[in-house]
């Protein structure tokens, strides 16, 4: 097929619709948010157009620094957990019978239909003292007494990993299915045990996919604000929780906007860094 570069403006036609959607639903709101972040806050929940750095200055405190640090740490931890569990899981899934694959994929897809609220309450019930899984452990004789597992960091991690896991599998699945199964067989004939073959062949051969998955889950987890509140203590609250709090309950739009802009910039910087590191290793 011959491909020519577009000659006239009309040839760009097919791009107008997505470009328009992107402008209306992404560029405009984001620009508005950046603008608002420089506005002056008025008592009583209003703000007036201005160009002040107060909102950013207020953010640069130890408290918000800690919250930002925790948010990034939590997002990274969830991304790593998802990928560490997801790669072997998806690898085994891609090597199993077609029927089993379909059942698992449908089950995983159905998790996507659950809202964050439902996931949060389901896990808080599962982790509760009165109706939680610890009762099962007591019944099995593994535990002496039922206890509450929430609120805790572990509960937040578990629920967030659960929520992001289907996305992880869906991104990894096509790459693992396409991976030539004779690669691991070749590794085995060369003296690698199945586990070693997995670690020295499958994982490195999928490095780019794994990096992309890490970034995706990281960004996804960064936006989570319900699960940390439902399952964590205040010290487990993320920046997204504080942004929601400021925007909705404190009616401080300019400050919320400033925090959101900051969060976007920091995460963009981290993603850029990860991509850069990935490219450096590839060039080597």
């Amino acid at each position: 097929m011959r491909r020519e570069p577009p000659q006239r403006l009309a040839h760009y036609g097919p791009l107008f619709f997505p470009a328009g959607m992107l402008t209306v639903f992404f560029v405009v709101p984001f620009a508005t948010m950046i603008a608002v972040s420089f506005f002056q806050r008025q008592q009583g929940g209003f703000y007036t157009p201005a160009f002040v750095f107060d909102n950013y200055a207020r953010f640069l405190s130890l408290f918000f620094g800690k919250v930002l640090g925790f948010s990034l740490f939590l997002a990274v931890a969830v991304a790593v957990a998802c990928v560490v569990i997801g790669i072997p899981f998806t690898y085994l899934l891609s090597r199993s019978a077609r029927k089993i694959q379909i059942v698992w994929l449908v089950a995983l897809l159905s998790i996507l239909s659950l809202s964050e609220v439902m996931i949060g309450f389901a896990w808080s019930t599962l982790f509760s003292r009165t109706a939680g899984i610890t009762n099962l452990f007591v019944w099995l004789g593994l535990m002496a007494q039922a206890q509450a597992l929430t609120p805790s960091f572990g509960a937040v991690m578990t629920a967030m990993t659960y929520q992001a896991f289907p996305y992880t599998v869906l991104v990894l699945y096509p790459a693992l299915v396409r991976l030539d199964p004779t690669l691991t067989e070749a590794a085995r004939t060369l003296g690698a045990s199945p586990v070693k073959a997995f670690l020295t062949v499958v994982v490195p051969a999928l490095r780019n996919t794994i990096l992309a998955t890490l970034i995706m889950v990281f960004i996804f987890a960064l936006g989570s604000y319900l699960l940390p509140q439902l399952l964590g203590r205040p010290q487990h609250w993320t920046l997204s929780v504080l942004i929601t709090d400021q925007a909705i309950y404190q009616s401080n739009m300019p400050f919320a906007a400033a925090m959101a802009v900051f969060l976007v910039l920091v995460s963009l910087a981290l993603v850029g860094l990860a991509l850069y590191a990935g490219q450096q290793r590839q060039a080597k």
Binding site: D180, T182, L183, E185, A186, A187, R188, T189, L190, G191, A192, S193, P194, K196, A197, T200, V201, P204, A205, R207
Partner: protein
């Protein structure tokens, strides 16, 4: 007992038998070609030798030890896959040294071995190249070098040359055979190209339907096929019915041929005659009579198709003794008992 020994090896997939009761003995240092039509179980047999599939019956012995259930990575073998399976994330050198790295061999020893192997496959200085940027023949050589890095006891290759063009394939066949002789390594190659098998092998194993039909040196396979399948599969042949005449003597296409007998204990048989062993003469005088139906001059050889007693017989001559025949002409066919084989089935 040394070498590789397969006894009654069987592999079933569900109710389907892919490899059926195969017994084979491969002495140390021999080059064996597994030859057969598509789907006859060659790959399955090789995968069982490699330990990638477990037999459902029988046992495999290597250098006196039963390895039937030993996992692949403990068998110390080298295998070249049809897809080559070079690791895309590693360089040529890293690919070759993979088995050494897995075994924890020191870096400088690895480096020496890489250089040795690259010299052996005529690709010196390629260690730091990416495998994606190699040509087909070069990838082939790298896969061979990778499999030989640890000097394995057994070298297995599954259709290693099928992706190469005809010219390169011929050159690689010779190279592979020379390499094997130099290293003296026991080698098994799967192929469905009989020319390839004849070029390389000490022993050709002809398989069909999951069974071994004949295992013998190439010349014997060609000159003394065990059955009509082998005769037909290896090279071109004429398969002619042998039936008893009124007096109980063996008759081929209506003529009793001196020196040819029915197979012992069988009411009828099949005679395999290579086209180059068929002589065309004047009709009569005890020759099988037939009619020329088609003549083609292939440059290096002339093929004459003769219809005799309802069967087509092909005769091949070199251009120097060009037969003086034309289509529609009656001719006589003479068979030499020394170069024909009577087969029971």
């Amino acid at each position: 007992m040394s070498g590789l020994n397969l006894s009654h090896v069987t592999k079933q997939f569900g109710t389907f038998t892919a490899v059926n009761d195969v017994s084979l003995s491969v002495p140390d240092g021999t080059f064996v070609c597994l030859l057969g039509p598509s789907g006859c179980g060659k790959t399955t047999l090789m995968r069982m030798i490699a330990g990638l599939d477990l037999p459902t019956g029988g046992s495999i012995e290597l250098a006196g030890a039963d390895i039937t259930k030993v996992p692949t990575h403990k068998r110390d073998l080298g295998m070249v896959f049809q897809s080559l399976a070079l690791f895309p994330h590693l360089t040529v050198g890293e690919n070759i040294a993979y088995s050494l790295r897995i075994r924890g061999v020191a870096k400088d020893v690895q480096k020496k071995r890489i250089d040795e192997l690259l010299a052996m496959i005529h690709l010196p200085g390629f260690a730091d190249r990416s495998v994606a940027k190699l040509s087909g023949g070069q990838r082939q050589r790298v896969a061979i070098a990778r499999a030989l890095a640890i000097s394995p006891k057994l070298f297995l290759l599954d259709e290693p040359l099928s992706a190469l063009d005809a010219k390169l394939r011929e050159a690689m066949q010779v190279e592979l055979r020379q390499l094997q002789q130099r290293l003296g390594i026991t080698t098994i190659v799967v192929t469905h190209d009989q020319r390839e098998a004849m070029t390389m092998a000490d022993t050709v194993v002809v398989m069909n339907g999951g069974e071994i039909r004949q295992a013998a040196p190439p010349v014997d396979i060609y000159r003394r096929p065990a059955d009509s399948f082998v005769a037909d599969f290896i090279g071109q042949t004429n398969l002619l019915p042998v039936v008893p005449d009124g007096a109980g003597r063996a008759s081929v296409l209506g003529e009793v041929v001196e020196g040819i007998a029915l197979p012992t204990g069988a009411a009828k048989g099949t005679l395999s005659v290579r086209p180059e062993d068929v002589q065309l003469t004047a009709p009569g005088h005890g020759a099988i009579s037939g009619t020329v139906t088609f003549v083609r001059d292939l440059g290096g050889a002339i093929e004459t198709f003769v219809e005799a007693g309802g069967t087509q017989v092909i005769a091949v001559c070199s251009p120097r003794n060009r037969p003086d025949v034309s289509v529609g002409q009656s001719v006589g066919i003479r068979l030499d008992p020394a170069t024909s084989v009577v087969l029971a089935r």
